[in-house]
Amino acid sequence: MTTIRPLYMVTVTDAICKGDLAEMKKLRAECEKHIADHGDIASLLSTLQVEIAKAEHGAKRK
């Protein structure tokens, strides 16, 4: 249900974004912050896997 918003109803300053979209954007921001603070574990892991595979492949060739 909507609510009264007459002109000059200044107290709307406590209105907030709602719904799944707002929540998903909040979570996305938290994920981005985590990556910024701690690094991207997923891409670190795949890079490690690639390098390990390369190294092992190289070791077998020797």
Binding site: M1, T2, T3, I4, R5, P6, L7, Y8, M9, V10, T11, V12, T13, D14, A15, I16, C17, K18, G19, D20, L21, A22, E23, M24, K25, K26, L27, A29, E30, C31, E32, K33, H34, A36, H38
Partner: protein, 495 residues
């Protein structure tokens, strides 16, 4: 990372009304003109503010009124003027409102609102401030009638923010504002405001004298898509656009902004006298602060109790009793007639002299345009010199330039959907609730099976939407769980 509104804590603000507020008739919101004294000279001022009213409430009367409003259940109060701070006891009134648990804010044009005044109000418990800014510097200063008022408004925004107040900007839209909205939004964001209230300028008081400041109804065709774009842009940049009660109704953007993302919220009719009260400085009570005094003065707290005025005055109760039969013109045959009741009473009645027909409506403007038509307003009668006085405008339907007039479909006024109402024991009435078509994102009455707007099968699209929601909810739950684990890991490492 961009600041996002989504960073705000999810909670339910006190201002949100629920069904029981309507049923029990609680005046949740009060807007109170505590003085008509003003130091600006706005060309669109509906109350024609300037000097104080002859007989404004005394301090004792004003404080007693706060107590009585609290007794009626009021949860939030906006103090306006004129300029609220031109009343000597304004800080005392704020203190009393806060001691009664009301969320308290002021609306201001900000001229000569010094830092010392702001500090005193904050000390008394003031929580929010809304500053009126109607365009970029030249337009704002011209409309507000005082050179330099634009710069003062931004200086007050900064000072208020520094004092920890919730800060919003209030903009009235007229024809000249349209092209300035986007750069104005940039300025507002840079100033740190979190909320931007948007409202069309209404044909009342000084705005009748200066009718060049009024939008033509057909200009909504340009305005509404622009507002939708700015709404989304602002949302990403930390500014929540709050569309006022005369920005409507039921067009393609209704679901976007009315509930700030909660699509179950939609326009549900003028709430004057149902969950809100307006008070004039001499104690005159109305269902909404903006309504014409001559038509809607419901009583005065000096001659009757606010409780009696609120519960029993005819001028207060109109919104609780009205039905589609009082609508006329296009609105009487509109699909949304019984939920909308012609939108904002103040806007339509001030314009046409009679409530119940509102040309400032996106649904209507689009329907007319689809048939090669548009509506234009022309002033036919000036407004008297009183505060909140109305004039009269003629409504002219004409061909859209460059288009052929096509006949409108025949719509039987007796065939509009009227819901079955059940009045609560206290006499109040909960507003109607619509569903949203998930194909065209327009609202429909709950009994519909096929969308009257796009022809979609409502059950199919609703099922698809439910599946989308379930998937999103699962993802949200998963993301929350992962982030919570990372948060606790982080906390362990820091410890």
């Amino acid at each position: 990372m961009t600041a996002s509104l989504a960073d705000h804590t999810i909670h339910r603000p006190v201002r949100y009304t629920d069904v029981s507020d309507y049923e029990r008739m609680v005046p949740v919101h009060v807007v109170w003109e505590i003085t008509l004294a003003c130091n600006l000279k706005c060309l669109h001022c509906g109350s024609r503010a300037g000097g104080p009213r002859a007989d404004e409430l005394t301090t004792t009367e004003a404080l007693d009124l706060v107590d009585r409003l609290a007794g009626l259940g009021t949860r939030e109060i906006s103090l306006i003027g004129g300029e609220a701070y031109l009343r000597k006891d304004w800080v005392e009134i704020i203190r009393r409102c806060r001691s009664r648990g009301m969320r308290t804010a002021i609306q201001t044009g900000a001229r000569n609102l010094t830092e010392a005044k702001i500090a005193a109000a904050v000390e008394a418990g003031l929580q929010g401030i809304g500053v009126s800014i109607d365009g970029l510097a030249a337009l704002h200063d011209r409309v507000r009638g005082v050179p330099g008022s634009f710069d003062q408004a931004f200086a007050v925004l900064a000072a208020a923010k520094a004092h920890g107040l919730a800060v919003s900007v209030n903009t009235q839209i007229g024809p000249e504002t349209l092209s300035q909205l986007e750069p104005l939004m940039d300025r507002i964001i840079a100033a740190g405001a979190t909320h931007w209230q948007i409202q069309l300028t209404v044909a009342m008081g000084n705005a009748v004298d200066n009718d060049q400041l009024l939008l033509q109804p057909y200009q909504l065709l340009d305005l509404m898509p622009l507002l939708a774009r700015l709404y989304e842009d602002g949302r990403e940049r930390g500014l929540l656009m709050v569309v006022g009660n005369n920005i409507g109704y039921f067009g393609p953007y209704e679901h976007l902004w009315r509930g700030f993302g909660d699509e179950s919220e939609h326009w549900s009719g003028c709430a004057a006298g149902q969950t809100g009260i307006g008070i004039e400085a001499d104690g005159t009570i109305k269902g909404c602060p903006s309504l014409a005094t001559s038509l809607y003065a419901a009583g005065n707290v000096r001659t009757a109790t606010i409780e009696d005025i609120w519960r029993h005055s005819e001028a207060m109760r109109f919104g609780r009793l009205r039905d589609v039969d009082e609508l006329w013109g296009y609105c009487r045959t509109c699909y949304y007639a019984d939920v909308c009741r012609a939108g904002c009473t103040w806007t339509s009645e001030s314009l046409l002299g009679k409530r119940g027909n509102n040309p400032y409506c996106h649904h209507r403007v689009r329907d007319l345009a689809a048939h090669g038509r548009r509506e234009r307003i022309v002033k036919v009668k000036e407004a008297p010199a009183d505060s909140f006085a109305i004039g009269e405008f003629a409504l002219i339907e004409e061909a859209m330039p460059g288009c052929d007039l096509r006949p409108m479909p025949a719509r039987d006024p007796n065939a509009v959907h009227v819901r079955t109402v059940v009045r609560a024991a206290d006499g109040g009435l909960a507003p109607a609730t619509l569903d949203l078509c998930r194909d065209c994102e327009r609202y429909v009455w709950p009994h519909e099976t096929t969308c009257p707007h796009c022809g979609g099968d409502l059950a199919t699209t609703a099922a698809r939407h439910a599946a989308d929601v379930a998937r999103r909810q699962a993802l949200i739950a998963r993301a929350r769980a992962v982030l919570a684990r990372l948060g606790s890991e982080g906390a362990r490492h820091e410890a």
